[in-house]
């Protein structure tokens, strides 16, 4: 593992509709690492991912996020993407009328423009689509349809990982990627994530259950509760949570 830092979240606080959800998050991610963020419902896991991706519905109340030397919070969502941040959504939206091809081409060419690169030719683009589709066994028929429209739960998640493969992010946040997946789909999705892993990129896996972590092995496991990371450990922490649930952590924190 490298010593340089990919992401440093420092005392991040954020709210929505005047209600503070994140109350001071600290997190450091280095290239090559896989971090799991676990925690009971309503602890702020999805909020953390949305805030990092720049959802304008949330207000950042304080803190800093350094993304390989860039002030992440100062960037628009699109520029965060161009800088190498990717969020795999828990509930990917359906966008009727926008074809996967046009969507992906617009995304890829915007990134290339940002990096001062020429747009891909139609042939190069379609070839890339084909290659990346195979990683998650995404059917060609899905790629020619509107974004996520009429996709099953499993197809939507595979489509997320397909987009991740296309954009080659430096940091991927997978928000509850396992929810709504049967065991076969889970294996395909996790297999795709593992295939895309290099020593230069990193992954944050947000999950409620240990199940996904059998397939995507974390280096660190964090427990998020009431808007703060209250416990950090190795993979064994996830197993302990699976066995004992979250109550003992809640008690630890609430009785402090």
């Amino acid at each position: 593992m490298k010593e340089d830092i990919l992401l440093r979240v420092d005392d991040l606080k954020a709210s929505i509709d005047g209600k503070q959800i994140l109350k001071g998050i600290n997190l450091t991610v280095r290239p090559g690492e896989v971090h799991a963020i676990m925690g009971p419902n309503g602890s702020g896991k999805s909020t953390l991912s949305e805030v990092l991706a720049g959802n304008p519905a949330f207000t950042v109340d304080g803190g800093k996020v350094d993304f390989h030397g860039v002030d992440l919070l100062a960037l628009s969502p699109e520029d965060r993407s161009h800088e190498g941040l990717f969020l795999s959504f828990q509930y990917p939206v359906e966008i009727p009328g926008v074809s996967m091809v046009n969507f992906m081409r617009a995304a890829l060419n915007a990134k290339r423009k940002y990096l001062n690169e020429e747009p891909l030719s139609a042939t190069e683009f379609l070839k890339l689509m084909r290659q990346k589709r195979e990683i998650v066994e995404l059917d060609n028929k899905l790629a020619s349809r509107s974004v996520n429209e009429g996709f099953s739960g499993g197809e939507k998640k595979r489509n997320e990982i397909f987009q991740m493969a296309m954009l080659e992010p430096r940091l991927s946040i997978l928000d509850e990627t396992d929810s709504g997946l049967d065991i076969d789909a889970l294996r395909i999705v996790a297999g795709g994530v593992n295939l895309l892993k290099t020593s230069d990129n990193a992954t944050i896996v947000i999950t409620h259950y240990q199940r996904l972590l059998d397939y995507i092995k974390p280096d660190f496991v964090h427990v998020l509760y009431k808007g703060r990371i209250v416990k950090t450990g190795g993979p064994e922490l996830a197993l302990e949570l699976e066995e004992k649930g979250y109550d003992w952590i809640k008690e630890e924190v609430d009785n402090k």
Partner: protein, 455 residues
Amino acid sequence: MGSIDQYIDLYLRHRAAFEQDAPEAMNSLRKRALEAIGHNALPEKGAEGYEKTSLEEMFAPDFGVNVNRVAVSADLAASFRCDVPNMSTLLGVCVNDTFYPTKGLQRLPEGVVFASMRTAAQEIPHIFDAYYGTLATLTRPEVALNTLLAQDGVVIYVPDGVTLEQPLQLVNIFSTPAPVLGVRRMLIVLGRGASAQLLVCDHTQPAAKECLSSQVIEIALGADARFEYYDIEESSESTSRVSSLFARQSKGSNLLVNGMTLTCGKTRNDYSIDIDGEGCDTTLAGMAIGTGTMHTDNSSVVRHLAPHCGSRQLFKYVLDDNATGAFEGSILVTPKAPFTEAYQSNKNVLASPTAKMHTRPQLEIYNDDVKCSHGATTGQLDKESLFYMRTRGIPEQEAKNMLMQAFMTDVIDTVRMESLRDRLKHLVEKRLAGAEAMCGECKATCHKVDEDGRD
């Protein structure tokens, strides 16, 4: 004194000139038109059916009328061409309100007419006299005024059993150094089992002054006839139009009307469709893309007068900046029309806080055996979709444009000609991206038509 009076005065002072060389059927109807106007004024904003659009105001400027039929140079007429790639059309051009056929029209199949009213009244008098003015109702002053002033127009006639393989195209152009009222009139008659497609494109030359198009379109479909009418308005901010389309369908006929307002000053479109025979199918679709201070008002009435017919109405608006839109649509199912299936939908996106939309879907049913629905929604672009696209790196404005384009997909999909559908997708995309909306690359001078009118 209302703004209609200046035109009545003009007519009364130059009656002889108005009637000179015009077909008898047109002249004989003027008296009735004049009586119908009587002391009525043009509707003002807020009048029943004209909630947001004042015709009084639209006709108020001192527009000129080409009473003496001064000809525009034929070269000018021939220099316009609205290209649709992969679609070869039989083209006619109407400059202001004078029709110019192209040489391509010599290729029209035997018996088919696409000509000026003056020509058609001589070639097919039995058709012209039997249909002219029979569909348009003179009760509305703007229709009566058009009938009073129209000196010529365009006739399309497809005889019984004839299928036109090649689409017809009519390009309406305003080209004028002074403010002008174009009095446009169209009569379309399809015989029993006949089939045709017509693409109408409205343009205004960039240098043209203020223009107003008053148009009345009458469409009569024989039994089992099929007709597609596409109307793309890409004029200019200084161009307004008041258009009334009347259609009557005989049994088993199929009618598609699609009106797309891409650029205009103020536009009022009235659609009145009588479904007057069993087993008809009717699609009435429309879209408006409003920016700046554009105003688009569509009003529709689809009357079901016979059993076992189906109609669908779909109108969509995207309004940005200070653009305004209005839609008043109705379905009328009479007691004579059991087993009717009729739907109407109006959906709108307001892309800026200052854009405004007025909508009023209506349904009147005097019959129990029907399936009908109607509805309207007005909202903003979906925030979640927008965020999702931005997280993939698509810049906000581009993402908005893509969503607006997607929003219009089902209106474009009503178009049955694939090449035109592709063209429209491209035009709408360009229009949403902020480009001056003009067909293809042509702006001031559209593409030349070569000797025989081919591409």
